[in-house]
Symmetry: C2
Subunit: 424 residues, 2 copies
């Protein structure tokens, strides 16, 4: 008998009819003889409604302070999953499947005290697993747990993916199925490149790059956890007929398996093309080239909660002055320039140049570790289309290229084609 | 320093603006130097929405069974108070009042296992009281607690009044203020008799009769608890300006004090007139007059969850056959007749007569214990208006009269006047 964790997001449980559909997916796995835990998000729209109320309350009180207590925010927002978990348990019972809901504090799912953006520390699933052993489906509220202060803590937006993977690790599940409104992970965004193909498998490392680079299928933190605990994770569609042929195939269900790279027999050099829009480029000209300069720039930016992404620094010509370029989200550009103005004197640089509306296009593939010339292929292909490269950063399995936002779609399609991703 | 429990119902916390108004009521009591716990209901309409989903879920699954798990129902429905408690805590913080929310399981408020209609067994308010001692307002979710199975249990509709009184007893509060959308308890329903007056005080026993007889100000169970634990309970309005003159008067706030009868110095013979509509009268003719007959009738009715109210049985003429009359809610009349048909043979009676659309009018007053002729006054007054009396039951402090529903308002006004309740 196998043990499966199934996760359903907000659009999958958006209304009574969809919750019934989710129950049918669960029943299929139970009927196949599996022990099942289900992790659910709040019904689509509910979390936003609750967050809106929490944010509006201080304003309604006429105060100028936008302050709200993260612990109260958590108590309010966590109620969304409480409702969907209870409804799914009822739906399962209605079709003859034994089930009960578990709230994070009941399992318990222990988190740290960082209310609003908590991390899961430990899951004591022993009582839950005991009941699963009797054939009872455990329906668990995603996105939340119990903090050391005995109050509910939420994991931050999208945290239900993380809940599911952490749960799968805790109960030693054979598989963690993330049901969503797409049917898998694609070689690139199909809205940009209709020839994008669904991947049958992708490695944890590659998925981590895909996730953090803007392919919004899975939350980054959940992929990190899956990688650390070697959780075999499937991304698959909740919108398909639960009883369609092949849906119950244990080893090869329709969707994309995120797994250890050793499980991927025929490795491609390049697996996918990701992109992230709304990047702003900031360049510091004739920067003093001495120890502590980087800390003097990026320390204050981090304190201002600005998420710096690509960082490029050239070796200086004469050993005293250099140029540095980095990117920040376009929404943070004004704040960034303010911070830099303040540290200009102390750090020492001649000028700041900046430009918003950039896009970062990334080529991802574990195979490039053992293949030369992958980067050169990208540069040549972009040059042939007349696309100017603003900055380049690389890692072992990724090449990221900053270009003007106007060329985003063209660049994605060009790279997708040059690495043969549009061919079966 | 005094300790106060304040309770606000669903209409009082219906939206962000009203929750802010509630926060101002609380701040007034805090500023006066009191330790305060606040018990809140769900935002008006939310409980109905949640109940609706729980009820619709089994139907959506296409099953013929209307079954739903009361434990899941509780988990779903209890989320409503979780939201309003969190929002009120934020509202209080926004106007400079230290506050935190407490969910039933966090206090904990221990209940029995009767999910959906649980009873409070014990409240361990020690940590809550400790924090209240530091000036922190405790905002507590009404209507719910923690059952022995470590799951949320709700107290049944209207249960927040009970939560508040139980909390007041547990923390030894000096006062329990029930804020609602009326400004107190009246001598009768002001919509029926505009001359109805607000009572400044009413005894627990009288309020119990008023509550159970259809004056929907307070839940019956909460009055029982208040009586047992001698909780001084005020019924007052949440809609008034929190800072209007007299609102902060500790001993005589605007509203009605429900208290021990010894606290009521000038006792009236009659305190109020209550009525309950939609009663159906059922009469069994020539019923066998032997031991076990009543059990043979009311046992099966109780098993069918039919709430029998007035029961009148006359002494039989010849010692062998008698007539019996009782009332049930009009909505349960068909079910009642079905049950009676089944037991007819075994119990033994000649005929069943029934009539729907009756109303029960009741005269209530502790003073009638020491005054003769109170009942006679009622009968005479109704007779003068040509109102026919169908049945009469009495207790020490109450006379209930069943009449044709068409005369309901006339009877209420007539009795209200004949006992001088419309005079200051």
């Amino acid at each position: 008998m196998a043990r499966i964790v199934m996760k359903f997001g907000g659009t999958s449980v958006a209304d009574i009819a969809r919750i019934h559909n989710v129950a049918r997916h669960v029943k299929r796995e139970v009927d196949a003889g599996n022990e099942v835990a289900v992790v659910v998000s709040a019904m689509a729209g509910k979390t936003n409604e609750l967050v809106g109320w929490a944010r509006d309350m201080p304003k309604a009180s006429g105060g100028s302070s936008p302050f709200f207590d993260a612990r109260e925010y958590d108590a309010i927002v966590a109620s969304g999953e409480q409702v969907s978990a209870g409804l799914l348990a009822i739906a399962l019972q209605s079709i003859g499947v034994d089930a009960r809901s578990w709230q994070g504090w009941q399992v318990p799912i222990q988190t740290d005290n960082a209310h609003g953006a908590a991390r899961i520390l430990e899951i004591d699933g022993s009582e839950m697993v005991r009941r699963m052993g009797t054939g009872q489906v455990a329906v668990v509220t995603g996105f939340q747990g119990l903090a050391p202060d005995n109050r509910i803590a939420t994991l931050g937006r999208g945290g239900s993916d993380t809940s599911a993977v952490a749960m799968a690790a805790a109960v030693k599940a054979d598989r963690c199925d993330i049901y969503t409104d797409v049917d898998g992970v694609y070689t690139t965004d199909p809205r940009v490149e209709p020839k994008a193909r669904r991947l049958s498998r992708i490695s944890f490392e590659e998925m981590l790059e895909m996730a953090s680079l803007g392919a919004k299928v899975l939350q980054v933190r959940s992929v990190e956890l899956a990688m650390v605990y070697k959780v075999r994770t499937f991304v698959r569609s909740s919108l398909e007929d639960p009883d369609a042929p092949g849906m119950g195939d244990f080893d090869n269900p329709p969707g994309t398996l995120i797994c250890d790279e050793e499980e991927i027999v025929e490795q491609q050099v390049v697996t996918g093309i990701a992109y992230a829009k709304d990047e702003a480029q900031v360049s510091l000209r004739r920067l003093a080239d001495r120890p502590g300069v980087s800390a003097g720039i990026f320390g204050p930016l981090a304190e201002a909660n600005i998420n710096v992404d690509m960082i490029v620094q050239n070796i200086s010509e004469d050993g005293s002055r250099t140029d540095m370029t980095f990117t920040v989200p376009t929404g943070d550009l004004d704040k960034t320039l303010n911070v830099l103005d303040k540290v200009r004197e102390q750090v020492g640089f001649d000028a700041i140049q900046s430009e918003a509306g950039m896009v970062k296009v990334s080529v991802i593939g574990i195979g490039m570790r053992s293949h030369a010339g992958v980067a050169a292929t990208a540069f040549k292909a972009l040059a042939e289309k007349g696309i100017n490269i603003r900055a380049i950063t690389t890692s072992e399995i990724k090449i990221s290229i900053l270009i003007d936002g106007a060329y985003a779609e063209l660049a994605v399609r060009t790279l997708h084609s040059v690495y043969g991703l549009d061919k079966q």
